[in-house]
């Protein structure tokens, strides 16, 4: 789990910070406003892509594991914790 947290932090640094930095670095002169909008849209599309890919994978995983790890599945076996006071 620590590696997952680490991965998230790295993604945040790589994806969000440079884009926001660019957005803030832009001046307020006419024309540059449009550039900032493009940068934010770009950030949004990248994040949406990540969010929906991860979402699809996790949702698919949940559906599969609900089927696979149900107690009535032919391959279901007791967990190491059963019979203990965990």
């Amino acid at each position: 789990m620590k590696s997952i947290i680490g991965l998230f932090l790295v993604l945040a640094v790589l994806v969000i910070v440079p884009a926001v930095d660019l957005a803030f670095a832009a001046g307020d002169e006419p024309g540059e406003y449009l550039d900032r909008r493009v940068i934010i849209w770009n950030l949004f599309f990248r994040m949406m892509t990540i969010a929906f890919v991860v979402g699809a994978v996790v949702s698919g995983t949940i559906i599969w594991q609900v089927w696979r790890f149900r107690e009535s599945h032919p391959k279901a076996k007791p967990t190491p914790y059963e019979g203990t006071d965990w």
Partner: protein, 508 residues
């Protein structure tokens, strides 16, 4: 509390008790009562919108009153009191203390809710749960609006008292052998949400006072005619109520943390990441309030900050989901009713979160602002995640509260019908919003797509309504006639339950 029904006591002994399970029972009964009252209003709203034109409600103002009280009731009088019920029952047991830290304060916090609820229901205000200024200060008819303000004031004080009690109980009364890093995640969820309440609610308390003095004509904080700014109210309101979303959702996730390992027959995969995600959600909850106000003329820089702040909640929410997935992995999952609700809640949590990502992006927000998309998104969170987690936990704690088992088949029917109904209502409302239908409207033009989608949503709502009747019949009938529960392991899944059989209702 098995004790209550097996050794019946006069009702007044429970009502005037300060013991945590008695107060928990009172919270539970009150929250279920208001669930049905608020739910009935939802069905009236959906029946009205089944077709364009006036159907069963005479006028727009009555419609406004109904959806105002519907929202206020289900948020403040169902979800929050139900969470308090769970906290009262389980937090002292989990931290191994005899009661809450301040039992009398605990009872007082509960007994502030009925008068607060009565003020809201007897007033029946019409300005939405947001109390839109300047309408709320200039034109909203009194005394309904004033009663709503006083009702919310009382409920806010009750929340703060309850939060103080949970924080002190968890931090100061936990067993000396138990470090804060060993407190169960359900108790951690109450610690996190209570800290949010303490920081967030005072802002709304101030806003309510300003609203009241504006209505009295003494001040003009939010009155443009007196130089005030209604947008200032929006900031104060959402500074409280965006974090409040997390106050609602965090205990529901905590409940899932109790249910999912139990029925997977495994401990939680990563306890520390659960704590980390709770704390992270509590912090980032305060970095996103202005995403409700993109359309009010904020600068581009401000909007960017709040867009990124909003998206920061995604990793924290995802951590919880990953934790649940990893816990179920290699488990031997028993799909009893509580587990079905919990897994359904996770699935809908993901869908609601995806809608939230779209909402957070300002360009898309301008398209969806004040449309039915927002209604669908918000309700998918509140019903699909929070209420699903709560219903799962109602079934989970049922043997503990009554000493009897509910009817499992009816519980599963309740879940399946609610799941289908929730998808029909709230997914459809997302699409309806993209088709441009504004929210909070009594009537709409007879556009064929709008009519069809409203009818789908209304049918979904009726399915949920029928499932709730089944739920009510199940819990009432089973409380008296249900099979006696095996109080050591009511669900037959093993492990160590936090059921306080040793708590024998000591009198205070």
């Amino acid at each position: 509390m098995v004790l209550e029904l097996q050794k019946p006591r006069p009702i007044w002994q429970i009502m005037f008790s300060t013991h945590h399970t008695d107060v928990g029972l009172l919270y539970l009964i009150l929250s279920i009562g208001f669930l049905f009252l608020g739910g009935a209003l939802a069905l009236i709203i959906r029946a009205e919108l089944f077709l364009p034109g006036a159907q069963i409600i005479g006028d727009a103002m009555t419609f406004n009153r109904i959806f105002t009280v519907h929202g206020t009731t289900l948020i403040f009088l169902f979800i929050l009191p139900f969470a308090s019920s769970v906290g009262n029952y389980f937090v002292p047991i989990m931290i191994r203390y005899k009661d809450m830290a301040y039992p009398k304060l605990n009872a007082l916090a509960f007994w502030m809710i009925p008068p607060g609820g009565a003020l809201i229901w007897l007033g029946f205000a019409d300005f939405s749960w947001y109390a839109n200024p300047p309408y709320s200060i200039i034109s909203a008819p009194g005394p309904a609006a004033d009663m709503w303000i006083f009702g919310l004031k009382i409920l806010g004080i009750s929340s703060v008292l309850g939060a103080i009690n949970f924080i002190v109980t968890i931090l100061k009364c936990k067993h000396p052998d138990m470090s804060i890093g060993q407190v169960p995640l359900l108790a951690w969820s109450f610690l996190s949400s209570s800290l949010i309440i303490l920081v967030a609610i005072p802002t709304f308390a101030a806003a309510l006072l300003m609203l009241l003095t504006d209505r009295l004509g003494v001040t003009g904080f939010f009155n443009p005619a007196m130089g005030g700014d209604p947008i200032a109210y929006a900031h104060l309101f959402w500074f409280t109520f965006h974090p409040e979303v997390y106050v609602l959702v965090i205990p529901a996730i905590g409940m899932m943390y109790e249910i999912i390992p139990r029925f997977s027959r495994k401990p939680i995969h990563s306890y520390n990441s659960g704590i980390f995600a709770f704390v992270l959600l509590s912090i980032v909850g305060f970095s996103s309030w202005a995403h409700h106000m993109y359309a009010t003329g904020m600068s581009f820089t401000e909007k960017t900050v709040f867009m990124v702040g909003t998206l920061a909640a995604v990793p924290a929410s995802a951590l919880h989901v990953f934790n649940f997935v990893a816990t179920m992995w290699n488990g031997r999952i028993k799909f009893s009713t509580p587990m079905m609700w919990a897994v359904g809640g996770i699935a809908l949590f993901f869908s609601a979160g995806a809608g939230g990502v779209a909402n957070a992006a300002m360009p898309l927000d301008f398209t969806t602002h004040d449309t039915y998309w927002v209604v669908g998104h918000f309700h998918l969170f509140v019903m699909g995640t929070i209420a699903f987690g709560s219903f799962g936990f109602m079934y989970y704690m049922y043997p503990y509260v009554t000493g009897r088992m509910y009817n499992e088949a009816l519980g599963k029917i309740h879940f399946i019908m609610s799941f289908i109904g929730t998808i029909l209502v709230f997914f459809t409302q997302h699409v309806l919003g993209l088709y441009g239908m504004p929210r909070r409207v009594f009537d709409y033009p007879p556009i064929p797509e709008w009519i069809a989608m409203n009818q789908i949503a209304s049918i979904g709502a009726m399915i949920i309504g029928v499932s709730m009747v089944i739920f009510l019949a199940n819990i009432i009938h089973s409380a008296g006639k249900g099979k006696l529960a095996d109080t050591d392991d009511p669900f037959g899944v093993g492990g160590k339950y936090y059921y306080p059989f040793e708590a024998r209702n000591p009198s205070h």
